[in-house]
């Protein structure tokens, strides 16, 4: 009973909090914190249960799939839920000074809108992590997109409105492709539940429907999700959108939003349609990921604004995630190295979330201190805000994939798989990508460390500086204590692969 309640709470608490924040607009910050507390409690209840009982599922109202809505919590979902909760808590605390309504002063639109939107976004993410039905997932993604687009445009500046509009165009095209694919799949197989689809063994020749239709359907769904994940070459919307939003919003957009569509891709190809994955398709996804790594990194090197560097870095970091398809997908999933690559990709998604959010919040601190985010204004910031500089450096360590950090664990696992499976090219992408990211992240850091000629910075509260440091430390801790998350992620992992490399 209590477990069911906790599962429902993961979706319901942020949704109710969002509604409440609309009704009581002046208390948005407080309501958000209550939401954080609610989710944290639910997670604390669920973790031991998951460890004890394995995968937890709940059919709402007692209606089983395909008729009813089923929430299903596995290790993978829990890992994403926890990461999102950590980042959201940090973001909501950091957003307080910027978006909390002040007594006596009139309330602006962004102050009114931020809290419900952030909470709505959270709810949509959690639905995406818990849902097993392609149509429910569609609804979650739409909700996510609406909240994300609104957050991009929240300040109503011309630039961010244009960025938001562009984002929406891409996202709608992605949704259309996704929906079309889902319709085709439904026509062929009569169900959209991932577990039931998996049971039909699509692609193995013993399922109904034609192979061509299945392939087109899966391709459309994948393309739609790739657009929403900002996989190269569909990434053009991301940098202006993520860099144009206010820093706390950027942190959510860059660290969290792409992870929902990526998780669905993982579930689709590893759980629902593993036998449909042909080597050509897997290689294509891997190649796009590799292109994203190289292209995103090179563009990041050429930016002169901090937030744009960090945003292009997201394009590159998302590329790593797609290397999981050639490394672990299709037939190779039965191989011993596949588990490492699969877990490595999950670690990459988690540590990128933590580190990227930390980085955007650092950028937020520095924008307050300097007034803008152009690199030429960054001299002397390490002396003025040492905690923030340290946080940025730690986040960079994780993004580059240096030990000890979650990023390193991810890179090590994927690299080992690449070498063990003889796919050295993907390994080279990982290594070169790491060096490139070191190069583009070094620029702002070195500037922050340089002496300033006239160091005049606006003061920034210590709390605002502390939050990104804690997030960056979480990214490091993910590497230092990988054992626990590693084994948690394995709960409910699609079977067939032997654990780890011996």
């Amino acid at each position: 009973m209590i477990l069911s309640l906790a599962l429902v709470a993961l979706v319901a608490v942020p949704l109710l909090a969002a509604l409440l924040a609309v009704v009581v607009p002046r208390r948005g910050a407080l309501i958000a914190l209550l939401g954080v507390a609610g989710i944290a409690t639910a997670l604390v209840v669920l973790v031991p249960a998951l460890v004890r009982q394995g995968v937890l599922s709940l059919s709402i109202g007692g209606w089983n799939a395909p008729l009813g809505i089923t929430l299903r919590l596995d290790g993978l979902g829990l890992a994403f839920l926890s990461m999102v909760a950590t980042v959201m808590a940090a973001v909501l605390v950091s957003a307080r000074p910027q978006f909390a309504a002040r007594a006596g002063s009139g309330e602006t639109r962004s102050q009114w809108a931020f809290w419900p939107l952030a909470l709505l976004l959270w709810s949509a993410l959690n639905v995406a992590f818990l849902s097993r039905d392609l149509f429910n997932l569609y609804v979650a993604l739409e909700l996510l997109t609406v909240a994300a687009v609104a957050l991009v445009a929240i300040e109503g500046k011309a630039g961010s409105l244009a960025a938001g509009l562009r984002y929406m165009m891409f996202a709608l095209a992605g949704s259309l492709a996704y929906l079309l694919g889902v319709a085709l799949l439904y026509a062929g197989h009569g169900t959209l539940d991932l577990t039931l689809l998996a049971a039909q063994g699509i692609g193995s020749g013993r399922s109904g429907g034609t192979a061509a239709a299945d392939l087109i359907a899966a391709g459309l769904i994948t393309a739609g999700l790739a657009v929403k994940t900002a996989l190269f070459p569909f990434h053009a919307w991301l940098p202006p959108a993520h860099s144009g939003a206010p820093a706390p919003a950027s942190a959510m957009l860059s660290a969290l939003v792409p992870k929902a569509s990526f998780l669905i891709l993982i579930r689709l190809w590893f759980e629902a349609l593993p036998e449909l994955a042909s080597p050509v398709l897997l290689t294509l996804l891997g190649a796009l990921g590799a292109a994203a790594v190289l292209f995103g990194s090179v563009l990041a090197l050429r930016q002169s604004r901090l937030k744009l560097i960090v945003a292009y870095s997201t394009v590159a970091q998302i590329g790593y995630l797609f290397l999981v398809f050639p490394l672990a997908g299709g037939d190779s999933f039965a191989q011993p190295w596949a588990a490492g690559a699969w877990t490595g990709a999950v670690f990459q998604a988690l540590s990128h979330g933590l580190a990227k959010a930390a980085m955007f919040l650092c950028a937020g601190v520095w924008i307050i201190a300097v007034g803008h985010d152009r690199l030429d204004g960054m001299r002397g910031l390490a002396t003025a805000t040492p905690m923030t500089a340290f946080a940025f450096a730690l986040a960079a360590v994780s993004l580059v994939g240096l030990p000890p950090s979650g990023g390193f664990t991810a890179k090590y696992l994927m690299l080992t798989s690449a070498f063990a499976s003889g796919q050295v090219v993907w390994g080279a992408v990982l290594v070169v990508g790491g060096l490139l990211s070191a190069a583009y992240l070094y620029r702002p850091l070195a500037l922050a460390f340089a002496k300033a000629d006239t160091p005049t910075f606006a003061p920034v509260s210590r709390r605002l500086q502390l939050v990104p440091l804690l997030l960056a430390l979480a990214a490091i801790t993910l590497g230092l204590a990988s054992q626990t998350p590693f084994s948690l992620i394995q709960i409910g992992r699609p079977a067939s692969a032997v654990e780890g490399l011996e």
Partner: protein
Amino acid sequence: MNAALPVLLLLTSLVAATATFFLPQESHRLRNLLNLGGAVLKLGLIAFMLIQVVQGTIYETRLEFAPGLYLLLRVDALSLLFVSLSAFLWLLTTIYAIAYLGNKPDLSRFFGFFSLCVAATTGIALSGTLISFFIFFELLTLSTWPLVVHKQDAKSIAAGRSYLTYALPASALLLIAIVWLESTVGPVEFAMPADLRQLDDTSLRIIFALFIAGLGAKAALVPLHGWLPAAMAAPAPVSALLHAVAVVKAGAFGVMRIVLDVFGLDLMAELGLALPLALLASVTILWGSARALQQTEIKKRLAFSTVSQVSYIVLGIALASPFAVIGGLAHLVHQGLMKITLFFCAGIFDERAGITRVDQLDGIGARMPWASVCFSLGAIGMVGLPPTAGFITKIYLGIGAVQAGAPWVIAVLAASTLLNAAYFLPLVYRIWFLEPGAAITAGDAPTERPLGLIAPAVITAFASVAVGLLAAATFSPLGWATLIAEREYLR
């Protein structure tokens, strides 16, 4: 208890580092207490373990991250050789740095990262697996950068950039080598040599080359040495750290591990890898010396001298004969003692008399007698005159070369000794026999005070002579190197 000791050894500097970061600039006493206390505690632990390890005890701690990815800390004779050197020099360098930096800005950042560097070096020394080694090796790279750029001026930032430009690609190569090897033979533990024969000869040779390139940037093997002279922009205690306590040594120590514990001397010979490595080391020895001769700045000359001297260690290991290996192992400590003395003194000359160039040294001997004596002892040791530590190394390497059937090495050693003499003895001559220049005679006699500045230099200078004189004792670097070699590699 046995499992706790390696962790404790690591924690002495790690705790000092973490706590130091949070101290405000003004709390000098607490900061000094933390760093000196940590160093003393560490030396105590090491002294205890030295005695235990002689009797055959091995300390081991294991920490699992993910399947196949675990940290193994292991105290054996070879790790103790390195860790006792770095711990001893850490204590002295801390004393020196406290006096040298005085009340300059950002002290907590400096000492925090300094202790972190030592923690990383301890980790490198204690690492029992390749991946543990890599993790600490990277930690060392990262924690050294803030020290190199400590002054935050344009020159330091450029030096830091150069450092990372060498270090990060090198570590990428190192990681590739490790993963390539481990994806076939599984996790490699130094104490239990894996069967590398599962890989073909060509792959093994490429992997070895990757290892040497990856470690060579830190060990300043030619042509990967460019960052080291540039890093002279950093304050003197950092130079001491780079050249003697940690960074360069970590590279050389890594080469030892790879040659002795991963590939093993037999496989090295079978694959024909020993000769190229010996040639690379010889080229580095000669090139470093030749470049040192051209430098007019004292610290730059010392830096190129390090490039040359560290390769003695690599040369000894590459020759693989008993005397050569022992000489190489012992030189890890010998070079550390001599070079740190020279950098301590160069720092004193710079800080107290404004002397940075060779020609400014004229007649400083009478004005700054202690620093001048120490500097001279260090320089004579580097040349290899008896009875200093450098002499012991060169004799052992020479005999080792004959044992290994590579008499050409003797020519390298002779040429290098001549070059060493050519770039060090003129300094000694200037210090003692030339009339003071205008810069020195004009002002008051420059001071060598406080005691914390000169005492570490005196201690290391006399230690460098003592390890030469007392080379036959069990706990001398040579004695210990003999113990390692007999126990592990020359059965």
